[in-house]
Amino acid sequence: MRRFTQRLLFVASVLLGVAGVVGCRSSEQSQRSEHSVTIYVSTDRVFSEPVLREYETQTGVRVNAVYDTEETKSTGLANRLIAEKARPQADVFWSNEPVRTLVLKSRQVLAPYRSPSAEGIPAALVDPEGYWTGFSARIRVIAYNTKLVKGDDAPRSVFDLADSTWRGQVAIADPRFGSTSFHVAALYATAGDVKMDDFFRRLKANGVRIVDGNSVVRDLVARGEVKVGLTDTDDVNVAIEDGQSIAMVLPDREGLGVPVMPNMVSLIANGPHPEEGRRLIDYLLSSNVERQLAQSEAVQIPLHAGVQGPKNIPAIETFRPMTLDYTKAASRVEDVTGRLAAILGL
């Protein structure tokens, strides 16, 4: 009996200790929440975290950030926002491509907010209803290996990738996810279903490699496993800065136009700290943040006029962006996903 009592007391002590640790951590969390704002971030953590830490330093407001993985590693924060809709935990959503934001708008997860910091951003990149505002854009590019492909010989259009010249030497990320899903939806919305279905059939026949992310495309091109690939500016720039044998071409400057993907920031409907959320949005849309993102390895293109753009990337005024209705493009995602699954054998 005595030994049983001793063991019972030991177990109870351990449980109390654990409860104490967890309780202290919960108390610390609730104290922090008094001057805090919660943001869910789909933009790559390596780029977004310094921006948010800077906001903390400047304002003294604690930023509780929830970051996302690559789109093929987990199902992402957009699903979390949808699941939490009845009782939101987040105040702000920062997305690195339009599709997620527009899905959330259609599910009534977002609230309208017109930030004064949005002044100067082109009207095409601001939601007329105020549910999202674009800033710091990326571009979809064709990356090529500089040891295997001369600059003059690199493909100039997305449609060139279906040429026999590049048979078995093209990589793209899975078009069902992330920025590639936005790109293909934009192409379908702009060029039409017949042309795009034919293109992807020819691409498939040309032996395209479909891999699980833009960074994998970049790595395959940089290592020379393929000669060219479709990816994003920030992915390629990381490799360029790392000294790898890779460069990029802005596609369709003469044709459809270059696909531009802005970051988008939105206020969450019924979030716990709406005022702090609005202030954070004002900060993210400021010229300072665009300058910071332009000068980082993210090489994101400022949308405010007069903000110095990133090195290695042409300024937005120097090329013709794809004329695009983002809402229309986002609405094509489900249909295009089904078409490509069949055409590409996904």
Partner: protein
């Protein structure tokens, strides 16, 4: 009215916790599409493409379970019966591959075997790239990650076998026949439990097949969530996957059946030591270590050396490391705390009930982690006390309970079946209550199995991502969350460093634990009565 017995009370509590933690989140997500009336039952019909994907998934799961068992079970036999020196160190090293994230292991293999990989560079031409990106490669990679689960399950099962049976058999038959006719059949339930867990883990994978360009059905479920944001459709698409796991589990439990695995002897009754096998077993262990651990680690280290600065990458990971260790410890303890009673109940259940329990455990474990995560959000993200829990670190522990109680229960049930019922009957006749019998008779005999279940739960909890990323309180993260959110757009050298960091972090406490256990003198060394007579060593 007669008071319920302590056995009824304890097992009922465990059942209630299992239903609340493991089944309710799944049920909640089924209710949404049913309640909204938006179910398109046509989604349950698989087209030809989806049938092909399901075939691939089945092959991936079955191939991985078979190959991992083929590697792990003999190693488990060797650890149980061969007198290695430094056995604890060997066991920890052989178990280490399961600590590495499967995606990172697959990545290291592509660095090794890709078109411009290490092998191609060494040989001067691309000889194995085509094999590197294939279904057999995915099976091989996953097998090299998951074989430790089979190894640990097999070792525990074999160590529970009365060595006198093998000795008696060896008097009349050669060793290999004794192995085939006595040892392996008695170890089958434990080995099978390990194989089932591996099957479910393999069919749940989509990032490794994705990287190796193998099209699998699990991606369909993932697409419904990640590309289409359609929970109802994702749940419906998960049903064929769950049916597949249920079919495999039913076939497996039918084959093994309710074999009588215990004798009237107690534990640790002098195993038949296979001293003659030391050299070949040692060579096999070293070869496995070289292929499954040394080679991937070397590749990762080679990539990591390309980083300019270690500090920037590791800095800021302190809290995530502490979170992972703390919550994995608490989670594994909570998981085993519930699973030990469920496992006991399953081991003592009648044949049909027991088989049904096995199938239910496999079902609960096979549910995709995203479904569990979204279900947890729906259940806990509510006003009041539930909401207070939702915003706290307790959600990590709830996530681990939801995911891993079934697998721990399977593992503990397998080892509890080796404990003779006659021991409990003898204790009851002597006047001991059920709780006293459990704490003094049954649990001491299965303590190794409980420890292994704790280790498996700890490893799985530590590496858990799918549910954690959905329920982590804002501002908090575990190490896998931090790593996977950082590797998006990080150079390969940074990815390698973070993977090595995770391995070191989880290997260190396990190594210390194993070292502490191995230093405890055995009862015989202490001159205490051994357990062969059924008395428990004090």
């Amino acid at each position: 009215m007669q008071r319920p017995s302590s056995r009824t009370v304890v097992i009922s509590i465990a059942l209630v916790l299992f239903v609340a933690c493991c089944l309710l989140p799944i049920a909640y997500l089924l209710i949404i599409p049913l309640g909204s009336g938006t179910i398109a039952y046509g989604d349950l019909r698989l087209d030809a493409r989806q049938q092909g994907l399901l075939r691939n998934t089945t092959l991936l799961g079955a191939g991985t379970a078979l190959l991992a068992t083929g590697i792990g079970a003999p190693l488990g036999l060797a650890l149980a019966r061969v007198p290695f020196t430094r056995k604890t160190l060997l066991r920890v090293a052989l178990a280490a591959p399961v600590l590495l994230p499967p995606y990172i292991m697959a990545l290291s293999w592509t660095y090794l075997g890709g078109t411009r990989g290490f092998v191609a560079t060494l040989v001067g031409s691309d000889v194995i790239a085509e094999w590197t990106y294939s279904l057999p490669a995915a099976i091989a990679v996953l097998s090299l990650v998951f074989y430790p689960l089979s190894m640990l399950a097999a070792e525990v099962a074999i160590r529970r076998i009365d060595g006198r049976l093998e000795e008696a058999a060896s008097l009349v038959a050669p060793p290999h026949l004794a192995l085939r006719r006595i040892t392996l059949p008695l170890a089958a339930p434990g080995v099978l439990a390990g194989a089932l867990v591996i099957f479910v883990l393999a069919v749940s994978e989509f990032s490794v097949p994705g990287l190796l360009r193998v099209r699998v059905y699990t991606t369909e479920v993932f697409t419904a969530f990640a590309a289409l944001y359609d929970f109802g459709r994702a749940v419906l698409l998960a049903i064929p996957l769950l049916v597949l796991c249920l079919v495999i589990a039913t076939i497996a439990v039918t084959i093994v059946g309710e074999r009588h695995v215990s004798t009237n002897r107690g534990l640790d009754t002098g195993a038949a030591v296979l001293a003659d096998w030391r050299r070949p077993a040692g060579a096999a262990a070293l070869a496995t270590l070289a292929l499954a651990l040394a080679l991937p680690l070397l590749v990762l280290v080679r990539e990591a050396l390309g980083a300019e600065s270690l500090r920037g990458i590791v800095e800021g990971s302190g809290r995530a490391i502490a979170n992972s260790l703390l919550f994995a410890c608490i989670g594994a303890t909570a998981v085993v705390g519930v699973a030990v009673w469920l496992g006991y109940a399953r081991a003592r259940a009648r044949a049909r009930v027991g088989q049904l329990a096995d199938v239910l455990f496999v079902f609960a474990f096979a549910v995709p982690s995203t479904i569990v995560g979204v279900g947890l959000i729906g259940l806990w993200n509510r006003p009041g006390l539930l909401g207070a829990v939702y915003g706290s670190d307790a959600m990590f522990v709830l996530a681990y309970l939801a995911r891993f109680v079934p697998v721990a229960a399977l593992a503990i049930a397998a080892v509890t079946r080796y404990v003779p019922v006659s021991h409990e009957e003898a204790a009851a006749v002597s006047g001991a209550g059920w709780l006293r019998t459990m704490t003094h008779i049954v649990l001491p005999q299965v303590r190794l199995g409980i420890l292994i279940a704790w280790v498996i739960a700890f490893v799985l909890a530590f590496g858990e991502l799918g549910v954690s990323i959905l329920v982590a309180p804002p501002g908090e993260a575990t190490l896998p969350i931090r790593i996977y959110t950082l590797i998006a757009n990080a150079p390969p050298s940074h990815v390698a460093i973070l993977a090595l960091l995770q391995t070191a972090v989880v290997l260190t406490p396990l190594g210390i634990l194993a070292s502490l256990i191995s230093r405890r003198p055995s009862p015989r060394a202490q001159g205490l009565p051994n357990e062969a007579d059924g008395r428990v060593a004090r």
